[in-house]
């Protein structure tokens, strides 16, 4: 089984794939190709402790250099794959070299969606995706500065919480009528909004940014017909899958490289894992997930298939966000038609929202309520039926409910 494997991309899925391939007995040479100058590192701390400055860069790295050496995995960093030639089974690099493969794993991740309004290219605009972005942001991230955050999603709000802690003056602009609208229920949105407001963050909802203005650098935003002074603009308005290598090679992408339950594309020699993929989720509909869990689990399943031990992927997705002293933990994918059950009291800053679909637990959002989250995750995996009234009754310990 001495086949040559190339991994394109150097994020969480890539690191997990190397580890799982070796654990599962794949013994061919592995080449991991990354565009940044770093080996695989964790992104979640970038918008939290790394931005705050309490977490050194060295701690971000998922594996030590020795790990890759021992795994016989060559790291090709600062290198970009520009094309995949499926007929000849080669990956072409920006410098023209063509590397042969027997199996290729696309773990190309996502890139930030950029603001396109007038002035969006002025100096002083920041995005948050990689180490370099945060290092850049940190050079201007000083107490007293006014930061305008465009986008009230996970990234924007995590940065807002850190900025408050560092003494910046913080405004968040969100086009929708509530925060994190794509990821959490109204109840959790409202709770998180109140926490940010209490911390001094100015929340400007239902407002699109119309222009960024300034004399040679960012000085103010125009949004909702008003102008807002700003020294720094941080844009967090979502990401787009890096699917061009796949599509240019004739592989399907529908906002995400289409893969089966083994992470395989239509080409049996090409797999894909992580944020860049779209797969049919455990609930039967095609989904593109942006999370550590999916990167890890999909990479594991790709490794199993590549090592000849295929096992379909059906893990429950999970997510988390840390803002102030709040730990938000989410499992499953809620739908608007689900019945919501509140457990606990938001005023006590400890509660959860369960989502039931036909009486079965489909998703849970927990705020400072880890047991609800962990049990919810288990219930989702088991398609557990729960009596809503018992679930809502916080005098019954969560472990005695099912």
């Amino acid at each position: 089984m001495s086949r040559k494997l190339i991994i394109v991309g150097a994020g969480q899925a890539a690191a997990q794939a190397v580890q799982s391939l070796r654990t599962e007995g794949f013994d061919g040479p592995i080449t991991l190709i990354g565009e940044e100058g770093y080996g695989p590192y964790q992104r979640p701390p970038l918008s939290k402790a790394y931005l705050l400055g309490t977490f050194e860069r060295e701690r971000l790295f998922l594996k030590s250099d020795a790990f890759y050496r021992e795994a016989d995995c060559e790291l090709l960093l600062n290198a970009r794959v520009t094309a995949i030639h499926r007929a000849e089974k080669t990956a072409e690099l920006a410098d023209g070299r063509r590397l042969g493969y027997d199996t290729l794993l696309l773990a190309t991740g996502t890139r930030v969606r950029r603001l396109t309004c007038p002035g969006a290219d002025l100096p002083g605009m920041h995005y948050l995706r990689d180490i370099a972005d945060v290092d850049g942001l940190r050079t201007v991230f000083a107490a007293g500065k006014r930061i305008a955050i465009v986008g009230g999603g996970f990234i924007g709000l995590e940065v807002a919480a850190v900025a408050v802690k560092r003494g910046l003056d913080v405004s968040v602009f969100e086009a929708m009528d509530r925060l994190m609208a794509r990821s959490v229920s109204q109840l959790v949105s409202d709770f998180i909004a109140a926490e940010h407001a209490k911390a001094g963050v100015k929340l400007i909802l239902r407002t699109c940014v119309e222009a960024v203005e300034g004399d040679g650098k960012v000085e103010r935003l125009r949004a909702g017909g008003k102008t807002h002074d700003a020294d720094i603009v941080l844009v967090g308005i979502g990401v787009l899958p890096n699917d061009e290598l796949a599509t240019h090679a004739g592989l399907a992408s529908q906002d995400g490289i289409v893969v089966d339950q083994h992470g395989r594309t239509r080409d049996p020699a090409i797999f894909a894992a992580g944020d860049c993929t779209r797969h049919v989720g455990r609930e039967g509909s095609a989904i593109r997930l942006e999370c550590v869990q999916n990167a890890i689990d999909q990479a594991k399943h790709c490794a199993l298939a590549i090592a000849g031990k295929p096992k379909p992927y059906s893990e429950v997705p999970w997510f988390w966000s840390d803002q102030y002293d709040l730990k938000l933990q989410i499992a499953g994918i809620a739908r608007p038609s689900d019945r919501m059950v509140l457990r606990g009291d938001p005023a006590a800053r400890k509660f959860s929202v369960f989502h039931l679909r036909d009486g079965v637990i489909a998703a849970v959002e927990a705020v400072n309520a880890a047991p609800d989250y962990m049990l919810g995750r288990k219930w989702i995996a088991e398609a557990q039926r729960i009596e809503p009234d018992r679930l809502a009754d916080s005098t019954i310990p969560i472990k005695q409910i099912a």
């Binding site: 999970w318 730990k327 047991p371 962990m374 472990k399």
Partner: protein, 106 residues
């Protein structure tokens, strides 16, 4: 630096140096000690960095937070000396600490 002794489920001892301020989990992962998955990277969100602390050392450790306690409930085969290794900050007082790693985290 503190010397930490990780013993994997097959009885192998791994003696590694961990910088003060780092977590036990980071010390294990960065030194290629197998058996600690730490899927979430130390955010106390996954319960896949479960270890058994040598009972002799238990009094030297800071107590479990509520969230660690809650997450540990869902780790596999826990015992009174179970901890999540991402939640234990290494200090010079922990020089010589012995922890055992379970067979599986999942």
């Amino acid at each position: 630096m503190a010397m930490i002794i990780f013993i994997t489920h097959d009885g192998r001892e791994h003696v590694v140096e961990v910088a003060p301020g780092w977590s036990l989990m980071e010390g294990a992962v960065k030194n290629r000690v197998q058996g600690i998955d730490a899927d979430c990277g130390g955010a106390c969100a996954c319960a896949t960095c479960h270890v058994y602390v040598d009972p002799m050392w238990l009094p030297a450790l800071p107590p479990k937070s509520d969230i660690e306690e809650a997450m540990l409930d869902f780790a596999l085969v826990t015992a009174p000396n179970s901890r999540l290794s991402c939640q234990i900050r290494v200090t010079s007082d922990l020089d010589g600490l012995i922890v055992r790693i379970p067979v599986s985290q999942h």
